[in-house]
Amino acid sequence: MRTFSFGKLSLGTALLPIYSALALVFLLVPIVYTFVFSFNDSVKSNIVWVGFTLDNWTNVCNAQGVCGAFFTSMLVGVVATVIATVLGTLMAIALARYRFRARSAISLLLFLPMATPEVVLGAGLAAQFLSAGVPKGLLTIIIAHALFCLSFVVVTVKARVASLDPALEEAGRDLYGSPLQVFWKITFPLLLPGITAAALLSFALSFDDFIITRFNNGGVETFPIFVYTAAARGVPAEANVIASAVFILALVIVVVSQLTSAARRKRLAKQA
């Protein structure tokens, strides 16, 4: 808003910066709160500020169940992401490249899990596991997560495949590349940015999923489940530590990827 004129200073132009600032504060307060209270020297409940300490950060695993839940979430996230990314990438390639009978129907069906409310998806899955006699636990969580991540992977990677010039793979075949070599030397590297984005998205979705997990976890506690349960008696400051750490990690990933792509662009510009 650098172009306002003093002659016609309207109420809107004056209020907009204030309004934006307020909205930003509103958005950031919970994060800042979480971060600040990760340093709180609390005993039982972490609601009132007692005093500053680093103990929560140095002994994260002291609190009952925090680290266990965190590692469960990591395990679920990694396994579900790997499954969803591999299957989703293959499906995306098939859907974008080959014409077959049920192609458009499958494309449509893949959108459904994204459009369905999570409650419905979670409850439906729970019913399925029950009737199939699969005991709820780590396995069912992973299956559920892989399932709802799959749609996102397919959509993300499919866009990338669609923009890939088929002539490149043809050139690879023309230059004596076997189908496997063409895939690994040409198709895969060119799809990699899309696949990476899809994997990160999957992991993020899996890591903070609560609703679907809640329906299918049995006794197993993922991090969001742990925080939710703990909230009843007061969330331990160690949970704030993990939440902050995850937030910082995500921030670092974003910043690093921005910086490296900027650096690469600069390097390319210099070469040219």
Partner: protein, 399 residues
């Protein structure tokens, strides 16, 4: 072709009864073609006539609907493209954007485990004068440079059969000539077989041993360049390869060695051995540079045809020659190329003129020229390929 060695010599290519139907469109119809080993064969034709499709069939990137393909006497119709002793210079270049220029060129060598791929790739890049850019990515090159990389990437493999899909289209005239010479010398040196697709008839005529003119998925005529130019068999060839003046009329008489066609009341004589048909309605033609211009009625003489009088409607000077358009009542526009032997035009705009030519320069065609324009304007495959490419490049740039 998965051995670690280059082709010793070119292989001959034979297409037998090839046709290719896409859903709702026949791109190639009953194509028969034989290209002898070691020859330089040019495929010439308008946009959309099926040139690229023909190359794709030979390279194994497309399966023929009917027919068989033989390379070096071996039936490769069902052989996968990566096992065929063939390399292609793609019309859209299709360079791998994630590899350096050097790695692009070395790709085929590495796949076949040929010794010293890097050294050979550098050598090929030197040939196209791009060795100094070996470390760059294809996106950082100009269109002409990319095209030369595509050329190097195919040639470096020394395939028994090299398919070139308009490989010099993006180059300026000087570089184009230079690359033409390079190509010709590579082809001679190793005796490879080249199948060269081009829009440029001059390129086809100067480089090729044999030129085939393709139209609507079929080969209209095929032969040595001079033969094709001297004696076109169809009106399409007569006007696609250079220009021709065409006249249609019934055959009125026939002597031992020639036929006489009545063109709007004027008798035009054509040698029998230069006419495809000797009776009925026949279209005869003559090249514009074979015509002589006269400012007065030429003397009727045996061995010569003349038309006129007409009016000069256009004079355009083009350096070595001047092109005249002469409107002759009942016959239409006649084009004449006259060498600029004297200063200024021989006849002036609006003045009366006659044309004549000697009988042995005329030719008789198999068909009649079509009235309607032959080709609907649509986007050619090259443009579409370029568009797709630019979209991809833009996206990669963003990522």
């Amino acid at each position: 072709m998965a051995g670690g060695a280059f082709a010793e010599a070119g292989a001959d290519l034979e297409l037998i009864g090839i046709s290719k139907r896409f859903p709702g469109f026949t791109a190639i119809e009953e194509l028969d073609l034989r290209i002898p080993a070691g020859s330089f064969f040019a495929l010439l034709g308008p946009s959309g006539c099926g040139k690229t499709t023909t190359l794709r069939l030979v390279a194994g990137l497309e399966e023929p609907t009917t027919g068989r393909i033989l390379i070096g006497g071996k039936d490769v119709t069902n052989v996968k493209s990566f096992k065929r002793p063939v390399n292609t210079v793609f019309q859209s270049y299709a360079l791998f954007p994630h590899m350096t220029v050097l790695e692009n060129v070395a790709f085929g060598l590495r796949r076949r485990n040929i010794a010293d791929p890097v050294g050979k790739a550098h050598e090929a890049l030197r040939l196209v004068e791009l060795d100094h850019l070996a470390a760059r990515r294809p996106l950082q090159l100009s269109g002409g440079q990319q095209q030369r990389v595509a050329l190097a990437r195919a040639i470096v493999n020394r395939p028994a059969l090299l398919l070139l899909d308009e490989p010099l289209g993006a180059l300026d005239l000087k570089l184009r000539r230079q690359m033409q010479l390079e190509l010709k010398s590579i082809q001679n040196e190793v005796g490879l077989t080249f199948l060269h697709v081009t829009h440029d008839q001059e390129e086809a005529m100067t480089m090729a041993d044999t030129v085939a003119v393709m139209n609507r998925g079929q080969i209209e005529q095929m032969g040595a360049p001079e033969e094709l130019y001297e004696l076109p068999k169809t009106s399409f060839v007569a006007n696609f390869l250079g220009q021709s003046n065409l006249f249609t009329g019934p055959v009125t008489s026939s002597t031992g060695s020639s036929i006489v066609v009545d063109v709007a009341g004027v008798k035009v004589e054509v040698p029998k051995d230069r006419a495809q048909r000797h009776a009925g309605e026949v279209t005869v033609g003559v090249r514009p540079e074979k015509l002589m211009l006269h400012t007065s009625a030429p003397k009727q003489s045996a061995g010569s045809n003349s038309l006129g009088p007409g009016r000069v409607t256009d004079v355009s000077f083009s350096g070595v020659s001047t092109q005249y358009q002469i409107a002759i009542p009942g016959i239409g526009l006649v084009t004449v190329f006259a060498q600029n032997m004297v200063f200024g035009p021989v006849v002036n705009l609006g003045s009366a003129a006659w044309v004549s030519w000697s009988v042995e320069h005329g030719f008789g065609l198999l068909d009649e020229p079509e009235r309607a324009p032959r080709f609907a304007a649509d986007t050619d495959t090259a443009t579409i390929a370029m568009q797709t490419r630019h979209e991809l490049l833009a996206e990669i740039e963003e990522a």
